[in-house]
């Protein structure tokens, strides 16, 4: 698989189809992959593709790397299912020029959440990790443990129906057959079943851990405003202290800004240093949007996001006169 990917990228460079390829390379720590930018064919050897490639690479097409998109550079990008959905979102929102992009799809069987692995081995230091079909082996000083992969998969991968990018130019290997999960939101349903007091309590407990580092916003492919509302000083929308009211305004505000645009890649949750279950509210909103407006973000390049479109004769039972 990795070999095919490298060959393909080499071929793209040789045929001058791309000037730059964004992909994953080996990280400096075990169980990590780091985004790499390749601008010559030889460097294709640095590419990897495995369960550690959790970053959503689509973010590099906006934000800090925005200048890349504006030039006429042809960019190749290696994408999983969710990254591919982000690209569709960008195309719909006019953030990228599709013709300047070569999308290289890879079949994804889910990525691991490093924090879950560390929890599993009680925070011991991992010196090496290897992956087999459905399990992984982690080794450190004085221990060697085998962990079932389904125990350490990122939350976003547990009920994923979109393992392949919806739009691609080249695909490495065979597109993975979707698991066709029927019940996509079991976690949200469990949350909804809690009684109202408990729902509030879980949320406040979770969010009170927030240190407001904004890592979730920075890795989020859907959060690409040049100036985020939390950074604005005049008017200042929220206080700067990690106090629960302001924290909630930040999180709810962010959730609602990405409502109908969130591709549920789980990047926010994996980036969170305080280990907050950030995806839950996003998924709750996605579920609501699916039920109400029958829309899932990032699947159709011709469809506007749910909250950017409307239907004139919609149900408006919630409006009281």
């Amino acid at each position: 698989m990795v070999k095919a990917l490298r060959e393909e990228v080499k071929r793209l460079f040789e045929e001058k189809k791309v000037d730059l390829v964004i992909g994953w390379g080996k990280g400096s720590l075990p169980m990590t992959a780091t985004p790499i930018f390749i601008n010559k064919a030889e460097d294709a050897e640095r590419l990897i593709w495995d369960e550690t490639c959790s970053n959503n690479l689509a973010v590099y097409l906006t934000k800090d790397k925005r200048q890349l998109v504006k030039t006429d550079q042809k960019i190749g990008i290696v994408v999983k299912g969710c990254d591919g959905r982000s690209l569709v979102l960008y195309a719909v929102e006019n953030q990228i020029q599709r013709e300047n992009l070569v999308i290289i799809g890879v079949p994804c069987a889910g990525v691991i959440d490093k924090k879950k692995v560390l929890k599993h081995i009680e925070g011991k230091e991992v010196l090496s990790a290897s992956f087999e079909a459905d399990r992984m082996t982690v080794e450190g000083r004085g221990f060697k443990t085998e962990i079932a992969k389904c125990d350490v998969l990122s939350d976003s991968c547990l009920n994923c129906n979109h393992p392949n990018a919806p739009v691609f130019d080249v695909f490495i290997g065979e597109p993975r057959k979707s698991d066709s999960v029927e019940d996509v939101y079991p976690d949200v349903e469990a949350f909804e079943k809690l009684d109202s007091e408990a729902r509030w309590k879980t949320m406040v407990e979770a969010y009170s851990k927030c240190i407001r580092c904004y890592a979730c916003r920075n890795v989020c492919p859907s959060c690409y405003c040049t100036e985020c509302f939390v950074d604005q000083n005049d008017p200042q929308w929220i206080g700067k202290s990690p106090e629960i009211t302001d924290t909630l305004i930040f999180h709810l505000g962010r959730n609602l800004h990405v409502a109908g645009r969130c591709v549920e890649c789980g990047a926010c949750e994996r980036a969170c240093p305080a280990d907050i279950d950030l995806l839950k509210l996003n998924r709750k909103i996605s579920k609501e949007i699916l039920e109400r407006f029958n829309f899932t973000a990032g699947l159709d390049i011709n469809e506007k996001p749910a909250l950017a479109s409307f239907c004139e004769n919609e149900k408006q039972d919630f409006i009281m006169g």
Partner: protein, 141 residues
């Protein structure tokens, strides 16, 4: 601090319809409660969800959005977007056990001064019955 509860209701009113409706209510000498604190916005879809969340979590007892009737938006489709957004916002409020009945979206046109007064009276009565915003106790405001 008196014992009586005087609610505070933040009202985001669209410039073209609801705000003019409020104006009409005033010039027609219609009584509506002083609990309403109107904020003029250019369109009901200008009301970012952050405004509502902030108003609510910082202690407003109720939040009202007034917009043009569907089809009458000055910008053609703003209020349709408001409607979708509001639906999602309410469901989020509900799932967090924040009382979603404290949020209200009403379509009030420029000629509906009496309707504006009625909506304000109804909504204030309701908030009066519901009591102060419980997040005031839960949060350190």
């Amino acid at each position: 601090m008196g014992k009586t509860f005087n609610p505070k209701i933040t009202a985001f009113l669209c410039k073209w319809c609801s705000y003019t409706g409020a104006d009409l209510a005033g010039t027609s000498r219609l009584q509506y409660p002083t609990a309403i604190i109107p904020i003029k916005v250019m369109c009901s879809s200008r009301v970012d969800p952050v405004f509502l969340i902030r108003a609510f979590l910082k202690g407003a007892d109720g939040v009202l959005i007034g917009g043009c009737h569907p089809g009458d938006c000055h910008y053609e489709s703003g209020n349709y977007h408001t409607r979708r957004r509001f639906a999602i916002l309410q469901s989020i409020f509900d799932s967090l056990n924040l009382e979603k009945d404290r949020l209200r979206l009403s379509w009030i046109s420029a000629s509906e001064g009496p309707k504006f007064a009625r909506v304000c009276n109804e909504f204030t009565d309701k908030i009066q019955k519901m009591g102060p915003n419980p997040t005031r106790k839960n949060m350190f405001i």
